[in-house]
């Protein structure tokens, strides 16, 4: 009964909508200029900025198109301004070229994608179908962008400030990757706004009075020059990998089955692992916060002792490829996802966990962490019961999967 709960001292909590929280976090982080074009389910970012930025004497432009918005962002950010651009899936496709140019020109900018169902115009429902697009690179050429994926509104606020900091430290566009659920939902938050310290940029086009002109560009016509530029970029990406890999875990210490999920899918998984444990199935959750750089090392470490890995996404299976690359065959990797604006329910995920339990063998307790299992079990397994699934409970195997673990 709610009235029996002692009130917690949390006077400064406020109820915020995800999109509005992202927008206000950018403002509080010192965002100088915002450029965008309306699209559901991120339109509230644009609406919030339309009201707040002029109040503060800062720049807000609703551009004529997504191409206009991203290239205005490129231009403004080239002067060293703190710039936010936001869109949703069909819009981010149109902005892909600008992202490539910014990566090539080494222009810092924070880019928000509130994902909706695709491909094409798709639907306006929540989705994580832009993982490939955002994590593997939007536009053309050899480049990477850090991608931060919040799982709650409070985390989104913190990550926006972090994103500006990473963008400026490494001179790169940084992506905040959310989905329609996070954008549209409201949660109480204690807004932990942060305004990262301003750096002095020795590259920004601020007017060449009294100094040599600076050039911000991605064009390097001589192959030798472009190769050197690419090597510089790659060295930078290695430095980002070393410094900015972020993840968090829950109930992993004794986990036999590990779910890897991010954003909204991780919240569903969080409920699912608790229900699994109520039924005796020891499940844990690893939640990547940075999707690039990807937390491969902790996933590899877990895979060396877990019975199986389950990847849950609001997609047909995109991050699962990065999980498999991290796991390198140390454990079976299964997948559960929904698309088109559908969100998996905790019980669906629980069923997938039970399937995975049923088709995998227990880990021998004496197996060392670095020892790989034999090739036979090293393959990824489909989630559907396969030919390898035992017809009945194997002898001597404790089978919580067959217990009633529904809530």
């Amino acid at each position: 009964m709610a009235s029996a709960v002692p009130p917690r001292p949390a006077p400064e909590r406020v109820l915020m909508k995800g999109n509005e929280a992202i927008a206000e976090a950018a403002i509080q982080a010192g965002c100088d200029a915002y450029f965008g074009y309306p699209i559901t389910p991120q339109a509230e970012i644009l609406e919030w900025m339309a009201r707040r930025m002029p109040e503060l004497g800062r720049v807000f432009v609703q551009a004529e198109s997504e191409l206009g918005a991203i290239n205005m962002g490129l231009g403004a950010a080239s002067t060293g301004a703190r710039v936010l651009v936001s869109s949703s899936s069909p819009g981010t496709s149109l902005m892909a070229e600008g992202m490539s140019y910014m990566a090539g020109s080494e222009v810092p900018l924070v880019f928000v994608d509130v994902m909706r169902g695709g491909p094409g115009l798709g639907s306006i429902g929540p989705s994580q179908g832009d993982y490939f697009q955002m994590v593997k690179g939007h536009g053309h050429g050899d480049y990477r962008t850090p991608v931060l994926a919040p799982s709650s509104i409070a985390e989104a606020i913190a990550l926006v400030a972090d994103a500006f900091e990473i963008a400026e430290r490494f001179r790169t566009p940084v992506v905040i990757l959310a989905d329609g659920t996070l954008g549209q939902a409201m949660e109480p938050v204690v807004p932990a706004y942060r305004n990262p310290a301003r750096q002095v940029f020795d590259w920004a086009a601020t007017g060449a009075t009294g100094r040599r002109p600076r050039v911000v560009r991605s064009l390097h016509l001589k192959p030798e020059d472009l190769e050197a530029h690419n090597e510089h970029l790659q060295a930078k990406y290695r430095a980002i990998e070393a410094a900015e890999t972020r993840w968090t875990g829950e109930l992993l210490d004794d986990a036999e089955l590990v779910i890897v999920a991010y954003g909204t899918a991780a919240r569903v998984a969080r409920t699912a692992i608790r229900r699994a444990r109520e039924g005796g199935l020891r499940a844990g959750l690893l939640r990547p916060i940075s999707l690039w750089p990807f937390p491969s090392a902790p996933i590899a470490e877990l895979a060396s002792r877990a019975r199986g890995i389950l990847v849950v996404e609001l997609s047909a299976g995109q991050m699962v490829e990065d999980v498999r690359l991290a796991v390198e065959g140390r454990a079976p990797v299964a997948f559960h996802g929904r698309t088109g604006g559908m969100v998996p329910t905790p019980d669906e995920v629980l069923v997938s966990l039970r399937h995975l339990w049923a088709i995998t063998a227990p880990r021998p307790p004496e197996a060392g962490r670095d020892e790989r299992p034999p090739r036979r079990t090293a393959r990824s397994v489909p989630i559907e019961p396969s030919m390898r699934r035992p017809a009945s409970t194997p002898e001597g195997v404790d089978e919580p999967a067959f217990q009633e673990v529904w809530r």
Partner: protein
């Protein structure tokens, strides 16, 4: 423990507002809360809805398998969400607009003429506030006083002239649901 409520009705019945008030009341009580609207394309005359999850602990899944309570303010909402009520869950029906009897027998049904009570309180548009009062009477997710305070906070800032009618509507729904508890549907 997470307790979920779906508010559903016509656009304009104040569905999102009622969910918002419940969310604010829960927040003020120190609880965790998650509010999400159905923001998909909705047909004119169809249903708009929002889901509010209230819990003592941080809230996991934003997607609910089964709602602990459904507030249905029009016939399409009942048709769509009656099946979403979990076993022993609560269905609040606006009998001013819904004539059909619910087919479920494993749930608690509270039938309140929300639109009629709203009109008495001052405005048909208060229908969702009446329903919120009825919900709180049967499922004390938060104390009635907390809902009253949430209405005061929101309306004093935005539209103080309608606060009295909103409070009257809340009390009317609360009283009707308590009374209805004694009579079969």
């Amino acid at each position: 423990m997470e307790r979920s409520t779906i508010f559903a009705g016509f656009g304009g019945q104040g569905i999102l507002f009622a969910g918002n008030i419940l969310a604010r009341a829960a927040m003020a009580e120190g609880l965790e809360v998650f509010w999400i609207p159905s923001y998909g394309p909705e047909m004119r005359g169809g249903t708009a809805s929002c889901t509010v999850i209230v819990a003592e602990e941080p809230i996991g899944s934003p997607v609910i398998d089964r709602a602990d309570a459904v507030v249905a303010l029009n016939p399409p909402s009942m048709a769509r969400f009656e099946a979403s009520v979990g076993p022993r869950g609560l269905l609040v029906l606006n009998t001013s607009l819904i004539e059909a009897q619910p087919s479920r027998t494993d749930i608690e049904v509270v039938a309140v003429p929300c639109t009629a009570l709203a009109r008495t309180a001052g405005d048909d548009k208060l229908v969702s506030v009446v329903a919120l009062g009825a919900l709180i009477a049967r499922r004390p997710l938060v104390p009635l006083a907390a809902v009253r305070r949430a209405l005061e906070v929101v309306l004093l800032a935005k539209r103080p002239e309608i606060l009295a009618a909103d409070l009257a509507a809340l009390e009317a729904g609360y009283a009707a649901a308590l009374e209805g508890a004694l009579t079969p549907v």
